[in-house]
């Protein structure tokens, strides 16, 4: 029993992080219809940035978060410049171009950081007892949970509480109608990329503290983001959170029941099943 409570809690913490990973993808895809296959690679890049900063500055790993939060939106905006110039068929072209970008980033990271596995490891590990449950959380897991939830809540707040959020949601729902209503869709797309870049920036350092960084690790994160986005439909923060939790718990369970090697299969199988059996999931009422 105890072990299942532990799995549930760590799956929950991991799932919140998955939701954070998916949120950036979903925002960018929803607003601009650009399929960013390099999403995971950008997160890994941000992770390496955090690792390098932690290694050379000697500060607490959390100081790398503001650095990544500043740098990664820049990278995302560059990507926006690239993607905006694409011709029709836009979705397929964006898929192929970002696939190329993913290859480029993977190999550049291989060159810069070598193929070794890297992890930000604090010297001392603090444990926290979860009240009412026989479960221990490490400081890492706790921060992962809190920061992911805070970021998701912040995005939810922006989307549903501000005028900008209204414009973003309008662009997600129907680009043409948003244009007719006087929304500058191009600029809104830029803002979506910048926000997505900030989410990528936050996800990187957290990734580097939780999972091993490896130049080829990005694909798995990209698949995760796509699975959750398709499950939730674009632009639904609550759906993304629910999807992230389900996936996190499912992966933790699979790793416990079948063995850690089978964990990677969960997101791939889920993605294929969602695409095959629920193809309408990702397309909103009026797709363009």
């Amino acid at each position: 029993m105890e072990i299942y409570a532990q799995i549930l809690v760590s799956g929950f913490s991991l799932g919140s992080f998955y939701a954070l990973i998916a949120l950036g993808f979903s925002l960018i895809f929803g607003v601009t219809r650009a399929f960013n296959l390099a999403h995971g690679e950008l997160i890994i890049l941000s992770g390496y940035l955090a690792y390098a900063f932690w290694k050379f500055s000697g500060l607490s790993p959390y100081w790398s978060i503001p650095v990544c939060l500043l740098v990664m939106p820049g990278a995302a905006l560059l990507l926006n410049l690239l993607v905006r110039r694409l011709k029709a068929p836009f979705e397929l072209n964006s898929l192929v171009v970002t696939f190329g970008l993913a290859l480029f980033l993977q190999n550049s990271m291989l060159f810069l950081f070598s193929a070794d596995y890297r992890l930000i490891q604090p010297e001392t590990v603090h444990f926290f007892q979860v009240p009412g449950l026989p479960v221990n959380l490490t400081e890492n897991q706790l921060m992962l949970l809190l920061l992911s939830l805070a970021a998701t809540a912040a995005v939810h707040g922006v989307l549903h509480g501000t005028f900008l959020g209204k414009a973003l949601r309008a662009a997600i729902q129907d680009r043409q109608a948003a244009l007719l209503a006087g929304i500058n869709v191009g600029r809104i797309g830029m803002i979506a990329f910048a926000l997505g870049g900030m989410l990528i920036g936050l996800a990187g350092p957290l990734y580097a503290q939780t999972m091993y960084l490896h130049p080829a690790a990005g694909l798995e994160a990209t698949l995760l983001a796509i699975v959750i986005t398709i499950f939730a439909g674009v632009g639904s923060t609550r759906g993304i959170l629910a999807g992230g939790w389900l996936l996190g718990v499912a992966e933790s369970l699979a790793a416990f029941v079948l063995g850690a090697g089978w964990r990677e299969l969960v997101s791939a199988l889920l993605l294929i099943s969602l695409l095959v059996f629920r193809p309408q999931g990702i397309v909103l009422k009026s797709g363009t």
């Binding site: 192929v96 190999n107 291989l110 993605l271 095959v276």
Partner: protein
């Protein structure tokens, strides 16, 4: 004035003759045999990818067929103790069997969604082979796979097993055969049906094209040919492991080569392979031992922006009359 078809045919014949004759002029050069042999090999892989792409499908997961072909042949060779001559065509069928699964499960997916599904599907055989250690040797991979047997033909010994020159000619022959398959897929009635599906599915149905069957046939041909490449690779290199043969690069390379060369042109995929691979190996690899493959990503991005139809189509584009 030369027509496009004639020009293409002359280029193709000239290229094959050129590739066949240069070793006679320059003598022994194992390094170049290896590089141009592999360029021919990737040319076949690009053609295999392109046959499926003729129907409009952009696959991001051909590594699944490649890896299954490699494992199929290597395991048959290991457990059955058969000659690679038999296990290569049989092992490649494992790739085609996975192609059948794609054809059945992905039949309603198009465009981006098909691309995503194919990308994710590579994980399935990879994770299974990784974890089924008792049969597949798991993530350690298989080492010491039997090399290709030597062939004696009319008293002439052809050492495919250890001579890079013999292997080079074998791969060149393989490329020429694949080129013929590509030619007949492009210009047969069957090929026109495929291209009709790519351009407009509804119109193709109205014209009497059985879109499910044509697409399925293209997929099977493409996956078998890719499986064949994988099986050949296992015996040429002698060792395979899941991370190597199910690598993202194996999926990416034929896509990059075809799109760069021109996926609508007969010689496009081959041109891509013969230009890019030697460029990568001869120019970039010595300078950047790790990470030189970044060039494929860059080339893919640039091609989409500057030559969306590929270099071959761009070269064959009708010029203003003054240029003729």
């Amino acid at each position: 004035m030369l027509s496009k078809i004639k020009l293409t045919a002359i280029t193709a014949v000239a290229a094959v003759v050129g590739l066949a004759v240069w070793p006679l002029v320059f003598g022994e050069a194992d390094f170049y045999y290896q590089i141009f042999g592999m360029a021919c090999f990737y040319g076949v892989l690009a053609i295999a990818w392109n046959i499926y792409a003729l129907s409009g499908a952009i696959s991001l997961g051909h590594a699944a067929f490649f890896g299954l072909g490699a494992y199929g042949s290597a395991l048959l060779c290991h457990y059955g103790q058969w000659s690679p001559v038999i296990t290569i065509p049989l092992g490649a069928a494992t790739g085609a069997a996975f192609g059948v699964l794609w054809g059945v499960f992905f039949r309603n997916l198009r465009g981006v969604y098909l691309g995503l599904a194919t990308l994710a599907s590579v994980e399935i055989p990879k994770v299974i082979i990784d974890n089924w250690g008792s049969v597949t040797f798991g993530s350690l991979g298989i080492v010491g796979i039997a090399s290709l047997p030597d062939l004696s033909l009319f008293g002439l010994e052809i050492p495919f097993g250890h001579s890079l020159k013999a292997q080079y000619y074998l791969l060149l022959l393989f490329l020429a055969l694949a080129g013929l398959i590509h030619y007949s897929s492009l210009f047969s009635r069957w090929g026109w049906a495929l291209r009709a599906i790519r351009e407009n599915e509804t119109a193709a149905v109205m014209a009497g094209v059985d879109i499910f069957r044509r697409r399925f046939e293209a997929l099977i041909l493409s996956s078998y040919l890719t499986g064949l490449c994988g099986a050949l690779y296992a015996h040429l290199i002698g060792l395979i492991e899941p991370a190597l043969v199910f690598n993202l690069h194996i999926s990416a390379l034929p896509l990059v080569l075809s799109i760069f060369g021109g996926r609508f042109a007969l010689l496009g995929p081959v041109l891509g392979a013969l230009i890019l691979y030697p460029l990568d190996q001869l120019v970039l690899q010595p300078r950047l031992p790790t990470g030189h493959e970044a060039v494929y990503g860059l080339v893919l991005i640039m091609t989409i922006f500057f030559f969306p139809k590929g270099v071959a189509t761009w070269l064959l584009k009708p010029r203003p009359a003054v240029w003729k």
